[in-house]
Symmetry: C2
Subunit: 145 residues, 2 copies
C-alpha cells in the first residue's frame, strides 16, 4: 500500500507526462500517455476524464485532439491533483485511523505523525506541476526505466 491510491499515482504520473509533452501548445493522446507512464489505457481514460472535468487538465476531441495542460494548470501545486483524486485525508487524517484523534485527544503517534504529514503537505503544496515537469524536461528524472 502506497501513500497514494493507484488511481492517484496514475493521475500524478499522467499530469507530469502531459505537462512534459505539451509545453509548446501541442496535445497528446490517451494511448501515448498510457504507454508513456505504464498504466492501463481505459482506466487512465476514466481518471483523465475526471481531471478534465475538474479543470486540472484540458482535452480536445477529434483529429489532432488529446490532452494538454494550460498555463494556469501548470502553475497549480501538485496537492490539487492529489486532493482531487484521494481527498485531503492524507493531509489531515490520524495515522492510526482514529476519527477523534486531535490536539486535545491525541493518539500515541499524533505529534510525530503530524510533523511528517506536514512535510508531505508542504512539499505537495509548494511545488507546482511545472516545477516537477522541469526535471523531466532536463532528463534528470524519469517516469519509466
Amino acid at each position: 500500500m502506497g501513500v497514494f491510491s493507484k488511481t492517484c499515482e496514475y493521475a500524478i504520473r499522467s499530469v507530469f507526462f502531459i505537462a512534459h509533452r505539451t509545453a509548446s501548445g501541442n496535445r497528446v493522446g490517451i494511448k501515448e500517455i498510457a504507454n508513456g507512464i505504464d498504466s492501463p489505457e481505459h482506466f487512465l481514460a476514466k481518471i483523465l476524464q475526471d481531471l478534465s472535468r475538474r479543470g486540472i487538465v484540458q482535452s480536445a476531441k477529434g483529429p489532432n485532439g488529446g490532452f494538454y495542460i494550460d498555463e494556469r494548470g501548470l502553475k497549480r501545486p501538485l496537492s490539487e491533483v492529489v486532493e482531487a483524486v484521494d481527498g485531503n485525508s492524507i493531509f489531515t487524517g490520524c495515522g492510526l485511523g482514529l476519527a477523534y484523534c486531535s490536539e486535545t485527544n491525541p493518539c500515541p503517534l499524533h505529534n510525530e505523525f503530524k510533523a511528517i504529514r506536514n512535510q508531505l503537505k508542504d512539499l505537495l503544496e509548494q511545488t507546482t506541476i511545472a516545477d516537477f515537469s522541469e526535471s523531466l524536461n532536463l532528463g534528470i528524472t524519469k517516469l519509466r526505466k
Copy 2:
C-alpha cells in the same frame, strides 16, 4: 486512504492497548481489546492470530486466557508490527508506484519522498512498543475519545 492499511491500524492500536493493559503480567481478552480500540471483534481476532504466530504478541487459551506481550515484545520497535502486516513497501517503495524508480532512475518525487519516508522509517524503527504505551499509561495519549 491512510498511510497504513486498516488491518495495520488495528494491529498497531491493539498492540498498544495490550501493552498498556498487561504490563503487570495479566492478560486481556479479544472482546475487551476490540471494544477498547473500537475495531470489529472477529476481524481483529484474525489479525491477532497472525501477530501471535509471528511472536509479536503472546496468547493463552481457556479461562483467564487472552493476549499479552512479553518483555522481549515490549522492546520491539513499532516497525516490526507494521512490516508484519503491511510489508516493507512503505519504507522502500516509490511514491508514484514506479517499480524501476531508484537513485539512478529517479521519478520526479524521488528525493523529496525519500526524505519524508526515511523520517517515518526512523520514527517507527527507533521507538519501541513500550515507549508508545508509556504515553498511554501516563494518560497523555488515547486510543478512544
